[in-house]
């Protein structure tokens, strides 16, 4: 791993092409799974897809994306957001089952479990990626910020549903942001992509 110098002057080791590609693939898959989950939830709760919830404001308070951020900071921002998403998702599932029961194992519940597992997988991959970037030991998740996020405002069933809906939307949003951010790392991705494409072409060339 070759060292990189950021605009701020810090030097860090770049992520391996393989790790980056794997994380990107998982994030893409998570985004797809989240889209499916949102669709299933809308159908289940008869929510019109044309109507927004909570004025479209994100639940997580994260620093705005900026081109000034280094690759490491960008990855850290994503990791932090996804970590909070997982905490919210776990809370949402718990409260949903407590309030409305469930456990029948329908398509919605299966998809919800898939998203939760996929999100955990993405977080693990992100952590390894950050370790490669930082060259530092494993990162410990900060769960304090997760608990500070408010739950349903009034404790009513409908507010709980809107809250769950917003959490699913939040996961979908941050999985999409993850894909976009990973692909915006030009040096690593273009090199990786170019090499991959070249390899494929050589392999595909008929003898």
């Amino acid at each position: 791993m070759a060292g990189m110098r950021t605009r701020s002057g810090r030097t860090f080791s770049g992520p391996s092409r393989t790790t980056l590609a794997r994380v990107d693939a998982i994030a893409l898959e998570l985004h797809h799974e989240c889209t499916l989950l949102l669709g299933l939830y809308r159908t289940k709760e008869s929510f019109s897809p044309e109507l927004t919830v909570g004025n479209g404001r994100p639940m997580l308070s994260m620093p705005p994306p900026s081109s000034q951020l280094s690759t490491r900071d960008k990855l850290w921002r994503l990791y932090s957001a996804l970590l909070q998403c997982r905490g919210l998702l776990v809370r949402a599932v718990t409260q949903e089952e407590e309030e409305f029961g469930g456990g029948e194992g329908g398509e919605y519940e299966s998809q919800r479990k898939t998203v939760r597992d996929r999100l955990g997988h993405l977080l693990d991959s992100m952590r390894r990626l950050l370790e490669e970037v930082e060259g530092a030991p494993a990162i410990t998740a900060n769960t304090e910020s997760i608990e500070q996020i408010d739950g349903p405002t009034s404790g009513g069933a409908f507010e709980l549903k809107l809250w769950i809906y917003r959490i699913f939307s939040e996961v979908e949003h941050w999985s999409r942001m993850t894909t976009a951010t990973l692909r915006s790392i030009p040096l690593v991705m273009s090199t990786a992509g170019g090499r991959r494409a070249g390899k494929r072409m050589r392999r595909g060339k008929p003898k």
Partner: protein, 969 residues
């Protein structure tokens, strides 16, 4: 009364003010949107208040200290007031903001211990939806008090509650109930719609921010409830969740014991309540102790109490179930443990198991062992106190079995225990059964020994080999062959008669050798005519029956094979006991196929000397012949066609042939012309066919139908006899026609003559024409003479020269020319002797004569007659007549030259010869040219007149035709 006056003042002021004056500035904006109905209610309230104020001048006193207590969940408003007792009270409730009356009735109320009156009112809308104002007045028999001071129950749409809300926010109701929802939008927000389970609802505006809708007959909701969503155009503003379901309805509570000490009760939850989640699910309690329901609808008690009560409840209701029983009647043992097979034999095995509870040792048990072999289950039952072992019988050697066991209380049987885990074991091997063997003879001395493979049930273990032995009693020697276990036939040849040969076969496995199977050799019947019966197949198979042979007590062997099979033929057989007279070969195997003929042969005494007793042929199911009759040929035979064809091959017949049908193909359809019901007849003659091309189709048929047909084309040639016959008929017809015409003409000859040859009227001549023969003293009429004499230049002789008939005949002019012969003659003369132009000096009579000659020969003839009759004598040059000089001698040269020579030799006037020489003429020659010609007739007639024949010879010779025409004999 201050209150009353003050109240009166207020109402007076109200009555003077417009409704808009009473509202705040903000409300004024909404007043514009008030409906006429709202205005109407508002005015009614004001009017009532005004009237009441007018009457408040006297007693009774208005109710005081009106209080309001709201039960939000029940939507119930409890109204209390104090004051004097009155039999009735008027209660008026209206929505404060829009002043719409929602309740206005007279009620009865009695004071409580504190002297206060109370009346409860249930609102259709949740009480939070908007503020309500309440006022009360007393009413006696004929007096009404003033209205009390209005009390207001503040709604959640007041400005201090600025956020969006919906009421009821979450409620559990029964299926079929009605619920009114209200959506209170946030301050400054706009309202879009209210939807119930994604269905847009009609709504009513209750206040500036509050909108209400009612859902009737609500259906059961999903696990997470039914959403009621209030939204504006872009965002979900607020919402509520309705949980619509049923109260619990459990059933079938039953309690039992497994260990003869504790109790375990089970029940059925009943219909789905549609209510889930911690708050809404159904809870159970058995004899007052809560049930965890971890294992389903199951609850246990540490002691057998003998009677049990189950309570079930949720937010919509409560249900109760009871059960009671003695322990001995509710014993259900636990499943057996540690099932093992302790002893295993080829035909039996011993099982042993253990009980988890020692109390079963004294319990009388009944146990079932389920055995499964080759997916076929069977059950064996055992009983005994504390039963813990059993011997399984009826097993098969070298067989794998799976078994399990369950038990119950033998006395007061209640229920089976659960099945134990499966146990698998395999029985030991045993020696095989004797093979089932049969012989197929290919000739008198060769054949094949065939035996059926031993099944697993018959082999009792893996076979190692077969041993086949042929023993000849006459030769007193035997030949043995050991064959591998995969072989199931063995060819052989005989050196001695088959009757003395025995076949023996044994099978061998690891456990031993099977008993021998012995068989005699049947006679070869290939060249022998054997009577074959037809058997009718039934739904089940082939029922066959026979008469047993006399003096025989042997068993039978029934063999069958495909009748049209090729060598080596696939065989099957079955053995029948002695004395059997019928059997049915089942057709539900793969052996039998529809449309295939099978031969069944019944042999008696197969073990000693098999003898064919009876033979049948049958089809399991007949089908239409698969192929048509081959080689259909057609040959013309006279006016008919002989069709011949060959027999359909047996494998293509697919049924017993019933005959053939011969069709004549006409365009696109077939016309049946013959139905041959004898299948052995394979020709047919189609007779009496006209000449032409034909296409015949021959189809064989059986009971299932007919084949596709074989065509035969033929083009019939004309028949020679017919041609000759046609010619003869034509000739005969023509002859008949001619005969008829001739007869008719003969019979109608007068008419024919009249029609085609009318008589020429005789000229009426003066004087007597019947003078004697001789020289006639013919004197021309004065006019004629004058004419003749007065025209010396005109040679009348030349004009009247008679051309001999011979010459005329030989003339080059055709007989059928349009120009009459007399005219031709005349023209000839004129052309030769004189120019065509007529002399100008000719007298009128002469001119008329000449013109007559020109115009009509009849006139010419008459002129001639008239001119010649009076002067038959030869005349000096002055006469115009030119006699015939040589009528008898035929001319040797053409008439023209002859005429010229005669003229030249004898002169114009010489050579006259009396007409008596006519007798020299041949009648044919003389009459033929003139036959049918008026001129000739006239000429003849005139000649007769001129030269009557004394012998009448000419007349006699020529009169046959006249006689024919005149009808005279």
């Amino acid at each position: 009364m201050c209150f009353g006056r003050r109240n009166s003042n207020i109402k007076a002021a109200l009555s003077l003010l417009s409704p808009a004056d009473l509202l705040s500035q903000t409300d004024k904006l909404f007043l514009k949107h008030l409906t006429s109905s709202s205005m109407h209610h508002y005015l009614v309230v004001l009017l009532v208040l005004s009237l009441s104020s007018c009457q408040a001048s006297g007693p009774p006193v208005a109710p005081q200290q009106v209080g309001l207590e709201a039960d939000q969940d029940a939507q119930c408003l409890s109204i209390t007031w104090g004051g004097p007792n009155a039999p009735h009270y008027d209660i008026l409730i209206w929505r404060s903001e829009f002043m719409v009356t929602v309740f206005n009735e007279t009620v009865e109320a009695k004071p409580d211990a504190d002297g206060r009156f109370r009346w409860n009112w249930t609102s259709e809308e949740p009480l939070e939806c908007t503020s309500l104002s309440v006022t009360v007045r007393a009413r006696s028999a004929d007096e009404i008090s003033d209205w009390s001071r209005p009390e207001i129950l503040a709604g959640m749409d007041v400005p201090s509650k600025a956020h969006a809300q919906m009421y009821p926010s979450s409620r559990v109701v029964k299926v079929g109930s009605n619920t009114t929802f209200c959506c209170i939008i946030a301050e400054g927000d706009s309202f879009g719609m209210i939807s119930y389970h994604a269905r847009d609802m009609d709504f009513t505006r209750l206040s500036r921010r509050s909108y209400a809708t009612t859902r009737t007959n609500q259906g059961p909701s999903a696990t997470s409830g039914t959403n009621v969503v209030c939204s504006n155009s872009k965002t979900i503003v607020t919402g509520a969740v309705m949980f619509v379901g049923y109260p619990p309805q459990p059933s079938d509570l039953l309690c039992e014991t497994h260990d003869l000490r504790t109790a375990e009760c089970q029940w059925s939850a009943g219909p789905d309540t549609h209510l889930t989640g911690i708050k809404r699910r159904t809870y159970y309690a058995l004899n007052g102790r809560n049930c965890s329901l971890a294992g389903g609808m199951l609850c246990g008690l540490e002691e057998w109490e003998g009677s049990w009560t189950l309570e079930a409840w949720n937010q919509l209701g409560r249900a109760r179930l009871t059960d009671s029983a003695e322990m001995s009647h509710r014993v259900r043992p636990l499943s057996a443990l540690s099932l093992v097979a302790t002893v295993i034999h080829p035909w039996n095995a011993t099982l042993q198991w253990a009980w988890p509870n020692q109390t079963y040792a004294s319990l009388s048990l009944i146990c079932q062992v389920q055995l499964i072999s080759h997916w076929h289950p069977s059950t064996q039952t055992f009983t005994g106190a504390g039963l813990d072992r059993a011997v399984l019988s009826g097993l098969q050697p070298d067989e794998e079995y799976r078994c399990r066991i369950r038990c119950g209380s033998q006395r007061n049987f209640w229920k089976w225990s659960g099945w134990s885990p499966y146990l698998t074991f395999t029985t030991s091997m045993d020696r095989p059964d004797a093979p089932d063997v049969w012989v197929w003879m290919d000739s008198n001395s060769t054949g094949r020994i065939i035996w059926k493979p031993l099944t697993k049930r018959e082999s009792h273990g893996q076979l190692s080999s077969y041993e086949v032995t042929l023993w000849s009693s006459e030769e007193n020697r035997q030949r043995s062959h050991v064959l591998p276990q995969r072989t199931h036939s063995q060819a052989f040849s005989l050196g001695s008669p088959a009757a003395g040969v025995r076949v023996t076969i044994t099978a061998t496995n690891a456990a031993g050798v099977s008993p021998p199977a012995t068989l005699g050799i049947p006679d070869y019947l290939g060249d022998v005519e054997v009577s074959v019966s037809r058997a009718e197949a039934s739904q089940a198979g082939f029922p066959l029956s026979w008469t047993p042979p006399d003096n025989t007590s042997c068993d039978y062997l029934l063999e069958w094979h495909n009748t049209s099979c090729s060598q080596p033929c696939a065989l099957d057989w079955t053995r029948l006991p002695a004395g059997a007279t019928n059997t049915t070969i089942l057709s539900d195997t793969d052996w039998f196929q529809p449309g295939v003929r099978y031969t069944f042969s019944l042999y008696s005494c197969p073990s000693q000397h098999p003898t064919l007793h009876q033979r049948w042929e049958a089809y399991m199911q007949e089908q239409a012949p698969s192929r048509p009759s081959p080689h259909v040929s057609s040959n013309q035979q006279g006016s008919g066609v002989l069709l011949t064809w060959e027999e359909v091959l047996l494998e293509h017949q697919r049924g017993f042939l019933l005959g053939y049908r011969v069709y004549l193909a006409n365009a696109s359809r077939l016309s049946l012309i013959a139905n041959i019901t004898d299948p052995s007849q394979r020709n047919y003659t189609v007779t009496k066919l006209p000449v032409g091309s034909y296409k015949f189709t021959v189809k064989s048929y059986n009971s299932a139908g007919e084949d596709g047909g074989s065509p035969a084309f033929i083009s019939l040639d004309p028949y020679t006899d017919w041609l000759i016959l046609e010619i003869l008929v034509a000739l005969g017809t023509m002859a008949c026609f001619l005969a008829v015409v001739t007869t008719l003409c003969y019979r109608k000859r007068k008419w024919v003559k009249t029609a085609f040859y009318p008589d020429i009227p005789e000229p009426s001549l003066p004087g007597d024409w019947s003078m004697p023969q001789g020289t006639l003293d013919l004197k021309p009429s004065p006019h004629s003479m004058v004419h003749i004499l007065e025209n010396p230049e005109w040679d009348s002789k030349e004009a009247l020269v008679t051309v001999p008939e011979e010459e005329e005949e030989e003339g080059s002019a055709p007989a059928d020319t349009d120009e009459p012969s007399a005219l031709r003659y005349y023209n000839q003369v004129v052309d030769q002797g004189m120019p065509r132009q007529r002399p100008a000096h000719l007298p009128d009579s002469s001119a008329s004569s000449g013109s007559s000659v020109d115009s009509a020969r009849t006139d010419v003839t008459y002129t001639g007659i008239q001119a010649s009759a009076p002067a038959p004598q030869p005349q000096p040059p002055t006469g115009g007549y030119r006699p015939q000089m040589h009528p008898a001698s035929p001319p040797a040269s053409p008439p023209a030259s002859v005429e010229q020579e005669q003229v030249g030799a004898e002169g114009p006037f010489g050579g006259y010869k009396p007409q008596c020489s006519w007798k020299m003429e041949s009648p044919e020659e003389g009459l033929a040219p003139s036959l049918g010609s008026p001129t000739s007739v006239t000429s003849v007639t005139s000649s007769q007149f001129l030269l009557p024949d004394p012998d009448h010879q000419v007349k006699g010779q020529t009169s046959w035709f006249h006689s024919l025409l005149s009808g005279k004999p």
